[in-house]
Symmetry: C2
Subunit: 150 residues, 2 copies
């Protein structure tokens, strides 16, 4: 992650959205598969389609994972599996709708019981190091479950 | 959008991520197509795959659109097309990587020139009303271009 240590460096991320019909459109980003996107049903949109609200929760959830993967590689920590459920609460705060809380629940399976403490520390670092968490006002709560594979 | 007027109401959004291999995983949300997700190449990840950083920029970009669609429906404003490019700048701020600025550039084509002012007003409302913008620390800049179809 040498780029990060160069303190003046900026990274640019671009996405495009094109309205299709009704409350639907397509998200694109150069060289990546398009993603159909819509207003969610509770705001008079459509079911079964990814929404801006989902992307927000997904950004936090996936960033915690990629940050963990970065630290795990750096520290040569091996793990068997990683999966994580995240839940975002959208509510009215000071008369504006906003995400007040994102709860992320990583479940990590490891093979060696003596690595449990290290993985716990890595998850603490990942929680603090997640650049999406740094960019949002919502509180981010990370509840980790580490299991030793029998 | 009657739910929004019920001030005590909370909306919950859930996503799941499952690590696959290397710096990759799959995002899921009940009833929606899975999205492959990875660390971006600049952080030792993979090219051509959606990343947490992309989802963050996409959340803002798509929320500005869905908010516009909501107001356009409410005000019975017709438009021909809507597309929008968004660019997020990730940089070190107070010793932490974060998105400092998201620039969103909606390009809207309308058929009737007398609706231009109304659409401009709707876009101002959409900029203010976007719930993702309310949830983030990044500055959000919206630069609108409205064209009359000849």
């Amino acid at each position: 992650m040498s780029e990060v240590r160069q303190r003046s460096k900026k990274f640019i991320y671009r996405t495009k959205i094109k309205w299709d019909k009704a409350k639907k459109g397509f998200l694109s980003s150069s060289g990546k598969p398009d993603i159909e996107t819509a207003t969610p049903p509770e705001f008079r949109g459509h079911a079964g389609i990814w929404t801006p609200e989902d992307f927000f929760v997904a950004a936090v959830n996936s960033c915690i994972m990629t940050t963990f993967l970065y630290y795990a590689e750096r520290e040569s920590i091996e793990f068997v599996s990683y999966e994580s459920e995240a839940e975002g609460i959208l509510e009215r705060v000071e008369n504006q709708l906003m995400f007040s809380l994102i709860t992320v629940r990583p479940r990590i399976v490891i093979a060696l019981s003596d690595q449990k403490e290290k993985v716990e520390k890595l998850m603490k670092s990942s929680e603090r190091g997640c650049l999406i968490s740094h960019s949002i006002k919502s509180k981010v709560e990370v509840i980790v479950e580490i299991t030793i594979r029998k």
